[in-house]
């Protein structure tokens, strides 16, 4: 059996959370009003960019950005500041829920279009077949 040396992280460490490890930890930032720091464990740019960029589209967001503190540790920090009409946590929650809804629509659209395109291709195929027979 190959032994990885201690300083090489195991391959699954980039996505498998330890026992009891949280996905998100929320910490209030006291230096600026209505600000929270979210630490996402075992997540990467896939969620970091998705959430931070989407938050920019809400009028109640004053600041939203993420960083990956260290390339060898699979976590990212998301900092969110709102105008006070909604807490940063509620904002992130709403953002995630709306992305899920959008993705649901996307999946529906994809499935319909895929089926339509396949049907079209089949019709074309049959027509070509008939044309060949005529010659």
């Amino acid at each position: 059996m190959t032994r990885l040396t201690d300083d090489v992280p195991h391959r699954h460490e980039s996505f498998l959370r330890d026992y009891g490890e949280k996905i998100v930890e929320v910490q209030d930032e006291t230096r600026t009003p209505n600000t929270s720091l979210f630490t996402f464990n075992k997540e990467d740019h896939t969620l970091g960019n998705l959430i931070s960029q989407r938050l920019h589209k809400y009028p109640f967001i004053l600041f939203s950005a993420y960083k990956v503190p260290h390339p060898l540790f699979s976590s990212f920090e998301l900092r969110v500041q709102t105008d006070g009409s909604i807490t940063p946590k509620e904002a992130v929650l709403r953002c995630c829920q709306e992305i899920v809804e959008d993705l649901h629509k996307l999946k529906g659209k994809f499935n319909t279009e895929w089926a339509i395109h396949l049907a079209k291709q089949q019709v074309d195929e049959e027509r070509r077949g008939r044309e060949r027979e005529q010659f």
Partner: protein, 329 residues
């Protein structure tokens, strides 16, 4: 193909138009979406859709010229059918010791050369020797005309190999052999109107960087010479070209990619919501990625449907057993 493939011009609603759909490829454009969603979808399709690949090999005999680990590595990379992979457990979530029929598929490779000709051992020579949920899961993908699959080793007279290969469920974040896609083509703004690209060139970037005309035609009016730069413009159309390795049809890769992303977000939603509720949060632990999201199936309309139904019925919250260990399927 042509512009006429696209539905009548948009009203700002999300749209999808196909350029090509086949057993190997899904080439389509998403309109009225945004860069962060499109890119996250691309990333999930590449790295986080569970598939099946050979993970452990018991070498019973190997007198070929290739070293054991060399052949094992090759075996790992052979594409296997991932049909019904959702019903297979991750080995680490399974209660068994090592591997069992709930969390693995066993393939046996046995060959001996007895003629004076060189014998080639192909992927099709992998024989399933365990029972499984359906008759396709774990079958080597054979797409060449002769249905041989890839060549694993060559044997001379008297040489033999005998290996028990244990295929397990995994994701490409752990090892690229679990990637369902051979490639995901991804492009937006083919005319570089937004100037997200600053082309390197020898003499003339226009000559040295051929434009994808097909995509350009589908991306609205092509950029004009000397047109003023729009500082507010953002990309809205995204061209995807998903090519499968063979274990999973391309449309399934896309829908599974979307579902996987939804599950990731659902896990976040659940935790943010549950945070206030106190210590009934204890569903965490060393779970596999997809299991984390499964719990989310709350009362809220809208985002419940996508993965609430169909999948495993146990919720991490309600069905306390599902957290881990127990078989939630």
């Amino acid at each position: 193909m042509d512009d006429d493939l696209l539905p009548p011009e948009d009203n700002g609603d999300l749209q999808i138009a196909f350029i090509e759909a086949s057993n190997e490829r899904a080439h389509f454009v998403i309109k009225n979406s945004n860069l962060e969603t499109a890119n996250s979808l691309r990333r999930t399709m590449l790295a986080e859709i569970p598939t099946l690949a050979i993970d452990v090999v018991e070498v019973l005999d190997n007198t070929s010229v290739l070293a054991d680990e060399f052949i094992c590595h090759r075996l790992g990379l052979i594409p296997l059918s991932a049909k019904g992979i959702d019903e297979l457990l991750y080995s680490r979530d399974c209660e068994c010791d090592g591997y069992c029929e709930l969390c693995s598929v066993v393939l046996t490779l046995q060959a001996k050369c007895e003629s004076s000709d060189v014998m080639k051992v192909y992927a099709r020579d992998l024989v399933i020797t365990s029972s499984r949920g359906n008759q396709q899961l774990g079958n080597p993908v054979l797409t060449d005309p002769d249905r041989l699959g890839s060549c694993i080793v060559k044997l001379r007279r008297g040489q033999a190999i005998h290996m028990r290969c244990i295929a397990k469920k995994g994701i490409a974040k752990e090892h690229a052999k679990w990637a369902p896609t051979a490639a995901v083509g991804f492009e937006y703004d083919p005319g570089n109107r937004l100037r997200h690209l600053d082309y390197w060139y020898e003499e003339d970037p226009k000559k040295e960087w051929p434009v994808n005309e097909q995509h350009l035609n589908m991306d609205g009016v092509p950029p004009q010479e000397g047109e003023p730069f729009d500082y507010d413009a953002v990309p809205t159309r995204f061209f995807f070209d998903v090519e499968t390795v063979g274990g999973m049809p391309p449309d399934e890769i896309v829908t599974k990619g979307i579902s996987t992303l939804q599950e990731k977000l659902a896990a976040v939603i659940q935790e943010l919501k549950g945070g206030d509720a106190g210590d009934n949060l204890d569903f965490g632990g060393a779970q596999s990625p997809t299991m984390n999201g499964m719990g989310y199936g709350g009362q809220d309309a809208g985002y419940t449907t996508p993965y609430g139904g169909g999948g495993p019925s146990a919720t991490a919250y309600g069905g306390a057993t599902s957290a881990y260990g127990g078989n939630p399927w």
